[in-house]
Amino acid sequence: MASEWTPGAVAALRERHDLPFVRADAEGRVMEFNPRFHDVYGWDEQLIGQSISAILPQEFREQHHSGFSRFKLTETSKLVNHPLELITICCDGTSVRSEHFIVAEKTTDNHWSFAATLRPLEGPHAC
């Protein structure tokens, strides 16, 4: 159901400068994030190339890996394009309840790209 993915969805999220933004490639590796993401969650350039599961709690990782692998086979997911309240792990190991809005997009060279804005719901950056 690739037709469900909106072209330009990742770019649209990237434009939301007021919210933390992070993008992963088809392998689930972090490819980019914006300064707001660094400000709120403390992650720096060392996150680039790491698995996106690094920002998820331990108890989410099994499901994340299996869900990611399933997506590669089926190209369907119920998690995208919905605001989801999840826990985000900060660079210092603390956690922040955040509203994730995940999108997926197929690039012109037929590779998937995943991006999300994360709205912190608690702590000094809550919005």
């Binding site: 709690p57 108890e59 299996s66 399933r70 119920k78 998690l79 989801l84």
Partner: protein
């Protein structure tokens, strides 16, 4: 060359990773296609993994919303009577996992439908321990009962409710009949009728009590508390609970080797009560009973022998049905005594199964010549050793 080797190794690792991802994805597709809800819980009973059906059942289709939640908060479980089970209730799955693998029938609330209302579904829960990983997990499977089983369970719940409803008016009726017989002392004909009515109401009360017990067993409402028990103590406790005239009819012959068995004391007492009532009923209160116990292949065998009419070998086909409900042997019918409820041996059968044992009739032909009078029922229970008992604390009952 070292650079080539390194590249080659990296390529092999990438291939392996891709292969594993594909396998993981395929497994996930398969698990998401099943009609059973599957959840994997960690030691703290928080949800670590869930399939699509589990998410459809309790988190509006979003598996991610289930993760990290305690099971007790993610899924409300209800008893078959429709009462919400608190997380610390003995019947709640969270309290059962530590006992090992198991099953339970419970009601589960479905997600709100479009009208905003929730419904409850009769469900079969199965849990299995996963122990050979870095940390232990529990796999919980929730399956809708098939329509036939649902109908059967609903029927049993109905009987349970009906039996409860009948109990109060029957108690009032019995009390009123007793009071009437005290008031009317002069009219023998009326007194005789009152005696018949009292006897019949007692019989119906007894029947309702047995139906309630059976429906409790059928619907998982019986509070099992199975633990290693010193058998002699359990027998003695039962004997002292009996009226003197009944207790005087029993003798014990226990093999000292079979000291302990895993039983529920209340269930064990009920089994012996039913067997003794049967023996006395069919012998017009004249039978004597000998209870002996021996150990055979890690099984405790309890022989309940009486001097009553017993079972003849010519009725093998009928004998195979005596543990069914409302079955009575033709040879045991008599005009001189009221008919039994036909539920006593069915209760014995269910209670023994609940304790992990069973009951069977020992045929006369298989008994020694001098013991071919009367009847003999054999109760089998799992032997639980002797020495381990002192250091072990009682476990929770399982079914």
């Amino acid at each position: 060359m070292p650079v080539d080797d390194s590249e080659k190794q990296e390529s092999v690792q990438q291939d392996l990773l891709d292969q594993m991802r594909q396998s993981l994805g395929l497994l996930r597709v398969a698990f998401d296609s099943t009609d059973e809800a599957m959840l994997i819980l960690d030691q703290k009973q928080t949800i670590r993994w869930a399939n699509q059906k589990a998410a459809d059942l309790c988190s509006k289709g979003m598996t991610a919303l289930l993760l990290g939640k305690p099971l007790s908060k993610a899924i409300p479980f209800y008893s078959l009577k429709g009462e919400l089970l608190p997380a610390d209730a003995e019947q709640h799955p969270c309290q059962r996992f530590e006992d090992g693998d198991g099953t339970e029938r419970l009601l589960i609330a479905n997600n709100e439908d479009q009208s905003g209302s929730t419904s409850q579904t009769l469900s079969l829960l199965l849990w299995r321990q996963i122990t050979n990983l870095r940390e232990p997990f529990v796999l919980l499977i929730i399956r809708d009962l098939d329509p036939i089983e649902q109908a059967l369970l609903k029927q049993r719940i109905f009987i349970q409710a009906l039996a409860h409803e009948l109990r109060t008016p029957l108690a009032i009726l019995s009390g009123s009949l007793k009071r009437l017989s005290r008031i009317i002392q002069h009219d023998k004909r009326v007194l005789s009728n009152l005696e018949t009515a009292t006897s019949e109401s007692r019989r119906v009360c007894n029947l309702v009590d047995k139906l309630m017990l059976l429906s409790d067993l059928d619907t998982g409402q019986f509070n099992w508390e199975i633990k290693e028990t010193f058998l002699s103590e359990a027998f003695e406790e039962w004997r002292t609970s009996l009226p003197k005239e009944k207790a005087a009819r029993i003798t014990f012959r226990l093999d000292p080797k079979c000291l302990y068995a895993k039983i529920d004391r209340e269930a064990f007492r009920l089994v012996l009560d039913q067997l003794l009532d049967n023996s006395l009923h069919f012998s017009d209160q004249k039978a004597t009973v000998e209870i002996s116990a021996s150990l055979e292949d890690e099984t405790v065998l309890i022989f309940f022998e009486d001097s009553g009419p017993g079972f003849t070998d010519t009725e093998l086909a009928a004998l195979s049905t005596i543990f069914e409900r409302f079955k009575r042997l033709e040879q045991h019918r008599s005009k001189s005594r009221p008919e039994g409820s036909g539920l006593g041996l069915a209760i014995v059968h269910e209670l023994m199964q609940g304790m992990g044992g069973h009951v069977e009739v020992e045929l006369r032909s298989s008994r020694p010549e001098q013991m071919r009078q009367g009847g003999c029922l054999v109760l089998s229970l799992p032997f639980s050793g002797q020495a381990s008992v002192a250091s072990k604390s009682p476990g929770r009952g399982t079914r």
